[in-house]
Symmetry: D2
Subunit: 476 residues, 4 copies
């Protein structure tokens, strides 16, 4: 559940694929709709139709929300065939970058290949430089395109072998859905940074970033694709391969804290439930003597419920969302900006006036919106405003598929907790501890030797070497 | 707070006006934005500029949401002047009906007159027929236009006298904001069916349907305009008149239950607080032996919190909203419609599976969406599904400014509570009692002789005679 | 045939109506398309459908070209019925003025009335002031609306009688198509300033500004509606009335010179043929010792052909039009404007280089574009550039339905022919004489007592008193 | 000058480039505007900006007309830099094909390369197949992309050497404008099928398909780029290279007949003048005893003027164009289609009624529109309708950059002149002879051994072997 407050980190992608259903494209559009929180700035679908003899691919991609790009029944109707894969992306605008919208598609010597990628490769720039020297032409700036080039240049015979050979050369995070030679292929990198699940709808097989994309089309959840696993779906059924060296799983713990939708299950755990448990541990670690618990809508709600239940404090909507925030804005002039214009939210004076409150939110990135929310609460009459955060302080950037500001913009990278509290002007501030977070997840605590999750944004402990980053730094 | 589930009654209008601010139109657009829940299908602003000598009116109206109609800075910039009034409307589409979008504006013998109207007149058709016989030309089908014709035909000297004379001829519900002869005028009908509040921002005076429109621009709430009061705002300040025969106030109780935004104050009472109290009375009247309380998002949330606190049951988000529901739709084909496509909401299996739950919602109109929600909960694994409704059964239509289906479409007009429970397939169903509702509002109960509110939709007790309805029935 | 050079006078309106055809609206859209040159800024169609019992009107109006407003098959499909009237208008933009787009429509006591008007009333402001004093409300700023008010207020029984009574009160130019009480009515004012023809397509009757609108739908031309005639078309057939005092016809001679399409017939005369004859008389009156005749495209072409044939000089395309001039513009920056950017036309160097040429054009209004064309010819290498104009100098404004600049902007109102020649920098300049113009039209010359045409823009001899103009002047 | 009648062959591209002007992109947009007749379905501009250190490319491409794609001042403003190249294309629609819109752009090992191509390669498919086998990835279906791949794979050091090496491998027609390594490069294939001229505007150098693109920006014509010449423009000035084996020039004669704009000069000859001369030879070869000469607008006008002057017959506009034909269409229903709807043209009855006329047009492709025009003339009352065509019969397809229908759709490929005359229902029909065409061009006649122009579409004499066509035929 994403938040309209914009000072968040952003998941960069959501992927969906379906094999063997007569309404493949429509179901893919619906699946992408359910995954909209994983990428709001562009979407695309590539379908494959072999119902009339030789297979043919159909592509439609655009900038904007899924509903806007696929709102025309004719658009979806042109994406014929019984298989389709789709992609949502968080990306910037412009003609040039329309070329970056996924799924990528290329005609190779053996036929068409289409790829939808969630994650980020850590050695893509290095490989790209090598390939360019050898005469390869790149159309887009995305790291995903190196995979396609490696497949094109591979001397292996089958697409599967070419893909395995290619993926052995790349490093970093990838949950991929590909389609080629009549097969839909799902792959997760050996660390399993990003999620990927397998579902079933009648005879059709489905791959998706989260289970909420199965729910929307009434499909059943089968299982998570495992880290390092390659699943190959064809008319003959599903095959599972493990072509890569195994590595200990390092799933992104922030998916549980914020990125995934609360109604999704990841690795068998309810995201909503995990958030409530994190809120409960937070209440144990950093209790607060207040009258009521106020969630920062909407992403802070489950943790706030957990906090309120553990602390025995009333849960109240002290901030009201305006449901009609469009994508266009009435820009107040400089003169009236100081009036405290609140288009998206309003403090609920009837609830907070004269009260001591604790706000529960999922993270602090730059701190600018936290500061505004606190101010809004004081204007609505709150007597004391405390804040509890359901993640540890974010001190490092992510290079595995999450959009984070540069390190100098992360408030916690250079400021103590007290300095942050002063900046956002709260009466008290606490973050969940890293160990507490792991305990909420059902572990005994964080295994410092070999952490059970990727928590690099809190610790700087990067599971995969940042080849491109090191190369770029040297170049400076 | 309105709900994306569409089986609700609809408030038909929101109004806003500001007098004496250099950013009058921008502030009006923001005020209308905060009042978007009172009318989502068209909006308009009329500004008045006398900064360059003779006063001039500027008009912009359109179909769609406020943000879309006023998203262009140039549009707002053309609405110059230090005063402006605006209107949101729930209405249908088409060229013809653009003419119905308010504020209405007309050049009369004494100059321009503009009117924004929340409410519905009950004898407008009768007056209109009379006027047409005398050669009047009507441009739109709205009842508001009769007020303008009556003002135009009045022989009184001042606009104020003409307006008073005109309003004495009309019956029904009206909270009006008018502008003429350099004055902004606010009027509420003698029964005060619909809300209207007075606010202040520095030297500027504001009129608005709800206090949330004051909050968004940082204005202070001054007081409610009283039933039967006419407030006249000019450069000389504010004057209050009471030109109409007094009547006992009959404010629409449904504004508290559903129409108003929870962060608004009406007659000094917090709407959010009233909804929680209604939920608490509901829990007292109709307790429920279940594991958890699930609100129907978003309008059912405050009552559900009240219910959960009173009953001592956990409050949990058993239904998750998709925040990215656009205004355009991927229409599933007939073949896959049965798959149970859920674009807007999803059952939160992690929360409800194996549990006995009580859903709290604000009303049942046709019952179709209630039935779908119950089904969604059962598919998500709920063991028992009970429902509690924070309004009495709706058995009669509203003719005072709320869009209700015809009586035969109101589920409760012809079915017992048990029949409704069977239709929506719940294990148990209860509505708050009419008396309980009044008690939650702080009364000792409903005064049957002279009810403290208008509750005609629950009781058929219409405070103002339905002249047009009777006339239309005779014509059949 | 209109010209993309914009320094022209503009015809203000074109009208079309059809009675008794199952494709009434589509045919009206096509008729308006053929009349596009008479008004390019807005269009509308009102259809009347009595095929399902009681008659009903359907309206669609918009700003832009006919093809853009009626490009959606659904829009036309909603305009059901066997009768329809339409209107093209030259008008400015903005929300307010959408209300001015014709046909106007109003619900009166006797039912709906719709009016499409070509021409301009000369006492509309006076009547409007009177009506406003009596309580009438005006929705638009168009003079046409006074006709509707007069009909609404008339005490006569039938629409026809009310319309006659109303038109007896107005003065000026009007070719009207109205629809009410199941009848389509065509009227021309007693002077017959603007054209109106009657056509037939099978059983259907048609009224239109010009015969080219009959040609486009394959209809037959029947006859011109006569000045002062009212034609009433109903299911019973056509009736002709002459309810007004007769006046000697004063048809606008500029329709022949420029406004009408060259393929139209007016009063039995081919417009193309008249233009050629005017060119021939011009060649007789003001011969020119040059190598070739170059038309100013496209409106100057027929006169240039006539000139070339009479003078025995070759006709050559010395100016080439770019056919792809869109409605949007690449605006050159100030710095490159001096480069002489020519988006719409280009001098044809291969033709004019080293040659003495005479340009033939239809009129000079402000002279600015004439000056640019002359410069373009010199840049393309023309040795001498002469100019011949197929109208007399325009010295007065038109108040009968043509948009002319204010008198001070008319180059010929204050400058001698030599001064004009100096301004546009030609080697010689001549206009056709007023008498020559009448001779080209087949007359013996202009009858100074009672001119055969309205030529007020050349002579200031206004056939109908300018009541509003006189009133406005007094008010200053 | 293109024609709205759509039964024509289509030029596939126009190119424009400017080096060293601060308004490079705006001037390129204007140049493309002047070349709109060479490609109406997509356009693009790539600019190069090295004013802030390292050079950077900016790209904007779209589907539609130049004015629509570049109508937004912001779009052009983002294309910064002192150099830019642009391209117009005749192409089909769809997301996939946006990738085909030129100029193509790629990041290669040495930096960016952008290419705009007019013409068509005859061995592109063969090369593409080879490259794909070696792992190259193609993004679009255009033949131009093989040039970019060959450059990328070349082992030569400089871009110029790489480009020369690449072009030695391709066959067919190409007039190219490229930009790389701070240089603008213009190349024409050894046969010089398509035009390319060099111009100058102050210090800036320009390359363009036709001289009309120089005129629009006020630039001077310098000279034609020669067949087989490579022109390299850098800050050091212009260099000319002739890296290819020389071949006798075979310029496309149809550029003179129809494709080029009449105000352009090609190889020093005025296109307008050539068309008039062709008309004159046509009149000598195939005289016609008629009353008047009627051009088919607009492309037939110059030849008709030449015909009329040679034959001593009056030239008259017997067909009137509607200037307001939008890109959207009011589609008449099946029922009224037979009415002979004429949206774009109308017969000018006043001119042709009762007359014997000869229509002069530039070509007959399928013959369908010729037939409609003849019918329109008869409906307008023409007594006899003859037709003279200013090209020889088109019997073969073009593979050098012109879009022609497949051979079976060319009316003249299977029908005698008499059969064609019968089909289009004229009283007589004649085409100019091939020899006459060469005589009009100033030759003594066609040199059968080594024709002075490419006339393959009339003769099947293809100067460059059709490698891909032969390969595709074998594959069938």
């Amino acid at each position: 559940m994403s938040s309209p407050f914009d000072d968040r980190m952003h998941e960069e992608c959501g992927v969906f694929g379906i094999f063997g259903h007569e309404d493949a494209s429509t179901l893919t559009a619906l699946g992408l709709h359910a995954l909209q929180h994983r990428g709001q700035e562009s979407s695309g679908i590539v379908s494959y139709d072999d119902t009339k003899g030789a297979g043919q691919f159909f592509v439609h991609r655009g900038l904007g929300l899924v509903d806007d790009i696929f709102n025309d029944a004719n658009v979806v109707a042109r994406l014929t065939g019984r298989s389709a894969i789709g992609h949502n992306r968080y990306a910037t605008t412009g003609e040039t970058l329309l070329r970056n919208v996924q799924p990528l598609y290329a005609e190779l010597a053996f036929g068409g290949l289409t790829v939808a990628h969630n994650g980020n490769l850590t050695n893509a720039i290095k490989i790209r430089n090598d390939l360019t020297q050898r005469g390869a032409i790149f159309q887009c700036t995305s790291d995903t395109e190196v995979i396609i080039h490696l497949v094109a240049l591979s001397q292996k015979k089958t697409v599967l072998d070419r893909l395995v050979e290619s993926l052995k050369q790349v490093e970093g995070a990838y949950s991929l859905i590909c389609f080629a030679e009549g097969r839909m292929i799902g792959v997760r990198d050996p660390y399993g940074f990003r999620p990927l699940v397998l579902g079933r709808l009648g005879e059709a097989h489905i791959l998706a970033s989260e289970t909420c994309a199965l729910d929307i089309i009434g499909a059943d959840f089968v299982r998570d694709v495992e880290p390092g696993e390659m699943v190959v779906i064809s008319k003959e059924g599903i095959q599972s391969h493990h072509p890569f060296e195994t590595a200990p799983s390092r799933f992104c713990i922030f998916e549980y804290i914020y990125f995934a939708r609360p109604d999704s299950l990841i690795a068998g755990k309810s995201v909503y439930d995990m958030r409530k448990k994190i809120g409960a541990v937070l209440a144990q670690e950093s209790p607060c003597d207040v009258d009521l618990v106020v969630p920062v809508p909407d992403s802070g709600v489950p943790a706030a419920i957990g906090f309120s239940q553990e602390a025995g404090l009333p849960f109240e909507l002290g901030i009201i969302r305006n449901h009609y925030v469009g994508r266009t804005f009435i820009e107040p002039t400089q003169k009236i900006r100081h009036l405290g214009v609140k288009r998206k939210h309003n403090g609920n004076r009837g609830v907070v006036e004269g009260k001591r409150i604790v706000l529960v939110d999922d993270s602090i990135v730059r701190g600018t919106t936290s500061r505004k929310i606190v101010e809004m609460m004081r204007q609505a009459g709150a007597r004391e405003v405390h804040m509890r955060i359901s993640s540890p302080p974010i001190t490092h950037g992510c290079f595995y598929g999450i959009d984070t500001p540069s390190r100098e913009d992360l408030l916690a990278s250079k400021n103590s907790i007290q300095e942050i509290a002063d900046f956002i002007q709260v009466d008290s501030l606490a973050f969940i501890s890293n160990d507490g977070l792991y305990r909420a997840m059902g572990e005994d605590g964080r295994n410092a030797e070999l952490p059970q999750y990727c928590d690099a944004c809190f610790t700087g402990d990067y599971p995969v070497e940042l080849v491109d980053q090191i190369m770029l730094k040297k170049a400076c």
